[in-house]
Amino acid sequence: MPLSYAELEQFYESLVARARRRGIACAITSGMACVAFGVAQATKDCDLLCAPDAAGKFLDLLGEASLHGQLPSYRGHLTPPLDARWMRGGWTSHFVWEAAGAEAYLDIFGVAPRSSSPWEAELHGFYAGPHTVAEMKRTNRDKDWPFVTALGAQMLAAQDARGWLHIYDENLLRTFGGASPAPAELLKRRPVLQLAVANDSRLRAALHAEVQFWHELDRARLHIYQKALRPYMLAVKKAGVPAGAALATQHEIRVRCAEKHLPTNPLHAYGVERMIAEAREALGEIVQLSTLAWLPDVREHFRVVTA
């Protein structure tokens, strides 16, 4: 009998509650958070933010977190260890519960990708705040973008002006622009808003360029991490974790491999400025060059991960 969605949701929420009782800062994000914020998404796996300093305590908790009698394991050869050193550097650890006929997946981040502020500062119950979730959804996957806009609209409707930063739909942006002016600070932070407020005909092309810019940034970021991962993946594969090994044993093997083969923060080593320059260059080949003038300064979105 497969696990029902309700059962899974309850399991992940209780995991967060137990973690918080142990003093671990953590929050559910991505698809499950979107459902809570009024943008339904069909998802079964859980993305979780966990403070890097609490990685050890969270691993201990996972070691006791039984689901249908099964304890979790690390997933695949590519998964970095759940350890503060790599979590701070932007890696994701993947876990699976392989209960008979019913699997549950958990992905754990220490740093929310693209987040311009620490996610711990703003929690909504079991979930990360909509501002963090919307920033995390600025991926290179087209399907994520309507969620970003929907979250932004929810935030504006709830009088949170940061919603202006997340609206990527031309019609909606023009409507909001006509209804009330965006705060000056946000116009500076996101220049394309100036076109929306002025009802300028260049808005559509500028918005398209902005979305493509985030796509290119995400492509570049993933490439940097994936390239850094290969020697580690080969080492984990060679180490041959015994089937049925306890989570603590799996963890020790991964840490040993990571200490030798996995850079803790490949983005920092590569250089954020360099990555941004490459994304802009790639963008120049697919959009009108005049639209580049309306791109935001995205450096703040990589400060947390490279701090």
Binding site: A42, L78, Y105, T139, A150, A153, N171, L229
Partner: protein, 59 residues
């Protein structure tokens, strides 16, 4: 103006997610969660896989 904004948001949801999901998005939380649960459970029964690849880094 507030009504115009509300309508624009709803129209966006229809354009982006389709009429049915737009309706679901504006349901009270408990009903929305129940709907998503039924949708996901039905898909799983029909063999849909929801797991994403474990790549060590997430988009």
């Amino acid at each position: 103006m507030r009504r115009k904004v509300r309508q624009a948001i709803y129209d966006f949801h229809i354009r982006a997610f389709g009429e049915e999901m737009a309706r679901v998005n504006f349901l009270p939380l408990a009903e929305r969660r129940r709907y998503v649960a039924e949708m996901v459970d039905h898909a799983v029964r029909k063999g849909v896989k929801f797991d994403k690849p474990a790549l060590g880094v997430t988009p």
